[in-house]
Every structure is written in C-alpha cells, then in structure tokens.
C-alpha cells in the first residue's frame, strides 16, 4: 500500500476470512457510535415509560405485587440485558447499531461469544450508569455540589472519549472483551466508466499517458462519477495543459477517454508486475 492509500486506510483493519481473503474491515467512527448509543438509550427510555404506564394502568388491587415484580425485573433486564441480548443475536448489533450500519466483531476474527458480549456491556456500568446514577441521586437530595458534578462529568468524560484516544477506537468494554465495532456500508455497484461499445475514442500519445499513476487515475474516476461540472472543467484543463493537448470543448468526453486509455495502460503495467502508485513514481 502506498502512503496515500495508507492514510485513507487508517481505520481499516485486516480481517482474513477462512478462504484467505483480507476483507479489510472499516472501524466505525466515534460519532456514528455515539449516535447508535443515543438511539438505543432513547428506545430504552421510551420502552420503560410505555411499560410503566401499561403496568400502572393494569394495576388493580390484588395484582400490584405481581406488577411490581414484573416492573423490577423488566427494569433490570432492560438496563443489563438490552445491549447484551441484542448483540448476542445473529446480527451482532443493537437496534441503534443496526440503524447506523454497525456490528460488533471479535478482534481475533473468531466467532463472537456470549462471554465477550457480556464483558463489553458490563463495563457500561462504570462508563455511564455509575456516574449518572450517582449524580442523579445526589441531585434529588439536593447535595450535588460543584465538585461532585465536575468529578462525575470528568469520570464519564474519560470513558466517553476513551475511543477517540486509541487507534482502534476501543471503548473500555471493547478492550476487556476483545471486540471492536465495525461499520458495514451498503453500496450498489456503480456503472462501468469505460464500457465496451465505445465506437470512437480519442487517442493519446505515450507521453500523455505517462503523466499519472494509480492514485491520480482513481481520483479522476471519482471526479467522473461525481459529475460536478466545475471539477470536471478544472481537471480537464489541468490535464490538457500538462499533456499539451488542444481544447475540443467536450470536457467530460475528453476525461472519460483519457481515463479509459490511462486505465488500460496502467493495467497492462500490472500484468508485467509494474504497479505505478502515483505520478511521482517512475
């Protein structure tokens, strides 16, 4: 991998399938994970409120005790089981994570075990629930002084921002459980830029085609796929100037022909083991 690709791939991690192909998983970003957590927290709170209201509605003399037991167990299950039970399922994700396209994966590439899921979620107790419940209890009593508030926020802050301070974006829970959270994007196959039936294409001299390497080719690919007129005009002008070619008025046509020709040339280089990563490489 060249330096440029390596920078783009800072959050890609090797993940080799049993067939021996490296899938290069993409670690989820901090923001997406925070969003997933907020969605889960919101769902949990809504569920708690709805269930409480339903139970309160059902409360008639004689069944209060059963309802109280149900509520207590339900609350316990919600607080400690929501994350674990969903992540133990075949999707490896809570509803919030699923919505954000995330998945919990064992770092060693093995199957995600129940123990790992429990370990990563039990740690949430000290990451979020402990300082919050401490603060809430004191706030109710009216004894939450500035020091305590700052301490709780600081404590939570350390754990909250922990994923941003290590290269693998691990939460404390991930660290202990040996897991990480990856982002599974869903994209459709974009159309072929070169095509088969191009009846007549511009031809380029060898000198014009030896200006660029793979990195520039793929940047050109991106420009062509985005189809932004200004970007296309700028890139076309730059290439024409460098290759000393006349302007024929059709920027997009020129660029896609140039792309096809350059791609073919660089690919023929690949066949003989010459991989020209950037224009700086001879």
């Amino acid at each position: 991998m060249s330096a440029s690709v390596a920078i783009q791939d800072r959050f890609r991690r090797a993940f080799v399938t049993p067939e021996g192909v490296d899938l290069r998983l993409e670690l989820a970003s901090g923001g997406v994970r925070a969003a997933a957590f907020l969605i889960d927290a919101f769902m949990m709170i809504v569920l708690l409120i709805v269930v409480t209201m339903v139970l309160a509605y059902m409360a008639v003399p004689g069944v209060e005790q059963v309802l109280a037991v149900l509520w207590l167990l339900g609350f316990f299950l919600l607080r400690n089981g929501w994350f674990s039970l969903f992540e133990m399922g075949s999707r490896g994700a809570t509803p919030g994570k699923r919505l954000m396209g995330l998945r919990v994966v064992a770092r060693d590439g093995a199957r995600l075990t129940g123990a790992a899921v429990v370990a990563r979620n039990a740690m949430r107790e000290i990451e979020i629930f402990l300082p919050l419940s401490f603060l809430a209890a004191r706030a109710v009593e009216g004894t939450a002084d500035t020091f305590l508030t700052i301490f709780s926020l600081l404590w939570s802050g350390i754990f909250l921002f922990f994923p941003l301070f290590n290269k693998d974006r691990l939460r404390i829970g991930d660290l202990v459980a040996g897991t990480w959270v990856v982002s599974l994007s869903k994209i459709t196959l974009s159309p072929d830029l070169v095509g088969i039936g191009a009846a007549h294409r511009r031809t380029f001299s060898d000198t014009a085609l030896s200006l660029y390497g793979i990195f520039e080719l793929q940047t050109l690919e991106e420009v062509l796929r985005l189809e932004q007129p200004e970007a296309i005009a700028t890139v076309a002008r730059t290439i024409r100037t460098k290759a000393v070619l006349p302007d024929d008025g059709d920027d997009y046509g020129f660029l896609s022909d140039y792309y096809a020709a350059l791609c073919a040339k660089l690919e023929s280089g690949l066949l003989v083991g010459r991989r020209r990563e950037t224009k700086w490489q001879a």
């Binding site: 399938t17 005790q65 037991v69 207590l72 490896g92 123990a115 107790e125 459980a177 994209i187 690919e221």
Partner: protein
Amino acid sequence: MNAPVLSRPMVNATRFRAAHSADWARLEQLVTLMEKKSIRRLSDDDLLALPALYRTTLSSLSVARDTSLDRALITYLEQLCTRAYFQIYGVQTPAARQFTRFFAKAWPEAVRSLWRETLICIVLTFGAAIVAYMLVRTDPSWFYSIIPEGLASGRDPSASAEFLRSTIYDKEEDWLLPFATFLFTHNSEVAIFSFALGFAFAVPTVLLILYNGLMMGAFAAVFASKGLGLNLAAWLMIHGTTEIFAICIAGAAGMRIGMAVAFPGRLSRMEAAVIAGRLAATAMIGVILMLAAAGVLEGIGRQTILDDGLRALIGTAMFASWLAYFYVMPTFRRGHVR
C-alpha cells in the same frame, strides 16, 4: 516506442463486470434478504447457491484487487463480501448448545479457575467482618460510622432484644415477592459494579468487598450483644451462603481483570485483559444466576421457614452444592487431570 494506442481500450474492470456481475447481483439480493428478514426466507436453491456465490465473489475481489484499477468496483466487492461473510460465518452457536455448554462446562470452570481470587475475597469479607465485630463490641458508637442510617432501620445498638428478635422471625406477609425481586436486582447491580470496577487495578472492588464484610460484622455485633448471635447467623445463612459467595466470585472476577491489566506477565496487556475479561464475564453470568437463587431463598425461604436449625441446614446445603458444582464436578470431568 510509438505504437498506436488501441482505439477501443477494454479495461479489466469492464471484462470483469460483464463476466460476473450477474453472480454479484444474485449474492447481493440473497444477502439483503438475509439481513432484512432471516436465512429461513431463502429457498432451497438459494441456500445451495449461497456458498458458491460467496466464494465466486470473494475470488472476484482478490482478482479485482490485483488486476483492476476501478476503485468503485473494488469497494463494492469489499462491502458485498463483508456482508456475505457475516451472514455465512457470523452465525451464533445454537442457543440450546450454548446453554448446555455454559452450565456443564463454562460456568463451573470459570469459577474454578478464579479460586485464588475468590479465596482472597472470602478472607477479606470475613476479616472485615471480624474487625467490625470487635470494634462495635468494644465501642457501640462505631456502628453508626459503618452502617448508614437508612440501612439499619432501627437495628442499631440502642434497639431492644425483642425488637431485634422480631426482625429475624416476624413474617413480612406484605410485598414478599417484590421485596425479594428488589433485593435480587440490587445485589446484582452491586455485583456487576464490583466486576466492572476491577478494571481500576481491583482497588475499588477490594473496597466494596471490605465494606460488605464490615456491615456484616457490625450487625453481628449488635445482635450478639443481645444474645441473638446464633439466631442471626441462621437468619443470614439461609440465603447468605449463596449471596456472599456470589458477591465474592464477582469481586474475584473484577480482581482477575485488574490483576491482568496490572501484571500481564508474558502476554501483552491487551491480550491479558481480553482473556481475563471473557473468563470473568462467564463467571459473572453465573453470579447473576446465584443471586437470583439467593433472592428466592431470602424473599420466600426465609420468610416461611422460621426454624433456626432448618435455616442453617438449607444454607449449608446450598453452600455445599455450590462447592461441589464449582470445584468437584470439573475435576471429575477431566478425570483428575489438571
């Protein structure tokens, strides 16, 4: 060299897409169906085709990476292969098998391998209890600095013997079940805390375990001073053998993580933390189950069984069965081979 450039350059990506895009599209369709619904939605034909399609796409990806420069194509294949991989290999072991494996093997073995830490926690609990007992016996005012007022609910050194006796033997008919449930959830939270706090080099865990012992000792001193020591012991034992043992295992689990982080030995700190974390988590699932059992004994057993001898017997029997389950059964399974 001035050879004419091909007038119709055909790049590998084009050829590649033409040859395989039908397979990719079919795999994508199947994977999407599995992600949205379930694998049961696939027809028999689809199920048979799935592994072949997956392998074709995977090999497409390797070939594309080496021969094609079409980045959109490679990105597409990467995400398709990843999604398919998780649908095919990401399946969990069936719940029933996980369940039996946990009870037959994972739980007792995890607890067994934590024996050293568990022993330390038990020693700490009883050490603290003895210290608190001595302190309160010599100077009852110590009681108030150990037990918060709300928890004592009148069971302090100034209480009369009759009142103390009533707290041990009077039935609380009302709200028996909810009370047992509350105790269970509360104890479980404490256990999970002491596990999670183990990460801070086990220091908070030790403090929590010590405090647990102190409270036990302080109460014992109050009851013993009125000649109710043995009665309290029986009252505590019926559920306490299970509950205190469970809390000690939770503390041990926390300690194991803290120690692994502090002294990883030959492993890297991360590897040591992961091994300890997974083992400790297995023990923790068991701790929650033990606390549920303790909650039933405490909420129902203790309220209905009033005889001291029977209370002590049940407590001892529970403790003996836990010991047999955790420490004796795994040895039999391994045929005495360590």
